[in-house]
Amino acid sequence: MSIVTVQLGQCGNQIGFEVFDALFNDSHCSRGLCSKRENEAYQASCKERFFSEEENGVPVARAVLVDMEPKVINQTLSKAACSGRWKYGQHSCFCQKQGSGNNWAYGYSVHGPRHEESIMNLIRKEVEKCESLSGFFIIMSMAGGTGSGLGAFVTQNLQDQYSSALKMNQIIWPYGTGEVIVQNYNSILTLSHLYRSSDALLVHENDAVHKICVKLMNIKQVSFCDINQVLAHQLGSVFQPTYSGEGLFHYRRNPLGDLMENLVPHPEFKMLGVRNIPQMSENSLAYSTFTWAGLLKHLRQMLISNAKMEEGIDWQVRPPLSGLPPLGKMSVNKETHFNTSIANLVILRGKDVQSADVGAFKDPALYTSWLEPVHAFSVWKTQRAFRKYEKSAALVSNSQSLVKPLDMIVGKAWNMFASRAYLHQYTKFGIEEEDFLDSFTLLEQVIASYCNL
């Protein structure tokens, strides 16, 4: 089953390119560490999901590119075409000649309705190319102007027109010390709108990925390209094919559906985070070997202590002893707190994957009291290695790990709102104070729900 990706704004388009590139390169990687037949099945599965075929055999990404200015889209299109290995469809992009000046309300209330028909037409054409549609990826930033406001509008439209298809928004959480003054307003508006119309919000934090680039990849001057490549690696390690229950050569047909079923069925808990291990520069890769036991131990501790990478993990954080009542309600002020999960999905790729023991993730102490590990935990596997990593593991979790950042943003936005700063930019284009209040209410509810786990 196929996934259609909607790339929104500068952020969405740059990341989208890296994602398709990573998926394609991995599926054509010669070092899959598996049999030829296995490799072909893997390739075919990846291809069907993310690419369609054109007459001369060059795969075309199943994507729609949207931006209000042409520069980034043109760069993205030419980068893909230059690689000669895959490309975007000629008629899959929509752009205008003017920007939107980082104005969320303009993106949502003006650009959205004005260009609704053209954008939805592009999406419809892409959907018609799919034999069967699993759902949509929508890649966008949370705090920007075009990407965020328009993204919220487009997601709502997708909810109306494709109500049975699944929607996962890949949201880029801005740097804490961001440059845009109104980024917190934009963030809360985006999040609250998406919470109502999307099925899952997979959050990628710029700060966390930046640290990975510096500490693990040893990159001196971190550019957005580096960040996007790490992001793409994370997404690829989640969505590349894995075995369905029937075993070798049979790959899961609907990973998006299976993931959502396992992680976000509850309407109040839609926020997901990704961690993966190991993460390193390709030069170091040749000199490293790993065991599944070691990888899984680190991954589990990353989850528990809310660490985003395998360096600097706090090993002091422990799950509460089973049998005792949970350690009281979470306070966002405490520094080190045990990160309670609602549900987790572990994805293992590589050599000897059958021998990997995930028992430690089935510990009830990791999870909230109202969901047992048998419902809360799932694991996907494949022998086929991912991008030259002999063994690699990814963890998608629905947990408390985003509560603190969310609370910070809501707090800052509220402070600005209390003094009515910059509100005219929004009210000018139809986003009233009531809309802001609704957003605050919804997000406070989300924070409270997560805290009460």
Partner: protein, 386 residues
């Protein structure tokens, strides 16, 4: 009575008959060249040679063609065809002497193709190889049933109040599964469409094969003219089917190989057993008792297998999927099962699955009753009866 006019064959019919026969052949064989190419091959035109090399490659490959083998260079295909024909006993030396680059030899290749066609039901064999798998096969194998771990033990839920969030989770999961189901059904429709199109193509090939059988005679008459045009050889090429007999030497070779394999297997088994003993080897009465219990269980399983085998009186119980095919009522059974046996196997399986279903339904009912009782004040609204 008037004089009966004999129906004389219309000369126009005769002229058409040969191209139609060759066209039928062309439609039956996979990747076959056009009838025009066959005609050119008789006169050894160079353009015909590559197409015929490729056709022979496709026809002689033991496995269905996949992308990799089809993209082999013409030279590699030509060499492979030569060695394959040689191993099948093709007598004409002129073929071996053709250049490897595949540029010449249309007439010789045509002869080789005709020789293959004469030896056995080639179009039928190729069609069987590539037939569309419809899923109308049933598995016949005891191994599955014996190896299954049995029904999972029903889990005992801890008593206590039920968190409403758990129920909301379950509701949400049901809704998502519903949506996934709809997407799967859409996929199934698309795949069925694809399947139908492939079946149509296969039907066209089958019709072509039938037509070919009706018109064969004309083709063989034409092939005789081709043979006349070729240079004669010491051992004349006959278009009679010939099945090569394995000589006594071959049997001795096989027996020796079998013996070697058996010895190797015995050694490997011994090594494995010793290694296992070293790993598992324990001491003490419990270990010995456990081991004895295991040995008894294994002996029982083996005995059951033995009994099942003896019941069938050693009739070969094939494993793997079997297609259901209609035959004439009085025809003695070929390699396969009678419908009655197949039905019995299916009925047994159905009974087994029904038992499992009933048990699972019972478990669900119990769980629902428990949940309903746990929260007084909750109203359960059953779905509308369909």
């Amino acid at each position: 009575m008037g004089r009966r006019r004999l129906r004389r064959p219309d000369p126009a019919d005769a002229a058409r008959a040969l191209p139609e026969a060759i066209a039928a052949l062309s439609r039956t064989l996979p990747a076959a060249p056009s009838p025009e190419t066959f005609r050119r091959a008789k006169f050894d035109h160079p353009e015909a040679a590559p197409a015929l090399w490729r056709l022979l490659f496709r026809v002689l490959s033991p496995l269905p063609a996949d992308g990799a083998s089809a993209s082999l260079a013409l030279e590699a295909q030509a060499r492979w065809v030569k060695s394959a024909l040689r191993s099948q006993g093709y007598p004409r030396r002129a073929l071996v002497q053709l250049p490897d680059d595949g540029s010449q030899g249309g007439r010789e290749l045509l002869l080789a193709l005709a020789w293959l066609l004469a030896r056995g039901p080639l179009p039928e064999r190729l069609l069987t190889q590539s037939h569309v798998r419809l899923g109308d096969e049933i598995p016949v194998c005891e191994c599955e049933a014996l190896a299954s771990p049995g029904l999972p033990a029903p889990s005992v839920e801890a008593e206590g109040c039920v968190d409403i969030r758990h129920l909301q989770w379950l509701m949400g999961k049901l809704r998502l599964q519903w949506r996934n189901l709809m997407a799967s059904q859409q996929e199934q429709c698309a795949l069925l469409g694809k399947l139908l199109r492939r079946l149509e193509m296969e039907n066209a090939q089958l019709e072509a094969a039938l037509e070919w059988r009706h018109r064969e005679l004309i083709f063989w008459q034409w092939m005789d003219t081709v043979l006349d045009a070729c240079s004669p050889e010491a051992s004349p090429l006959t278009f009679l089917p010939r099945i090569p007999e394995p000589g006594p030497g071959a049997a001795r070779l096989l027996a020796r190989e079998l013996q070697t394999l058996q010895e190797e297997l015995r050694e490997a088994a011994e090594a494995r057993r010793a290694a296992w003993q070293a790993v598992v080897g324990g001491h003490g009465p419990e270990w010995r008792a456990a081991r004895r219990a295991l040995q008894t269980a294994v002996a029982q399983d083996l005995a059951a297998l033995q009994r099942a085998w003896e019941q069938d009186e050693g009739r070969a119980r094939p494993h793997g999927p079997r297609r259901l095919v209609r035959t004439e009522a009085k025809v003695p059974g070929g390699p396969g099962l009678w419908a009655a046996e197949a039905t019995e196997a299916l009925r047994a399986r159905e009974a087994c699955l029904e038992a499992v279903l009933r048990q699972l339904q019972g478990q669900c009912r119990q769980e629902l009753a428990r949940l309903a009782g746990a929260r007084p004040g909750l109203i359960w609204v059953p779905p509308p009866a369909r």
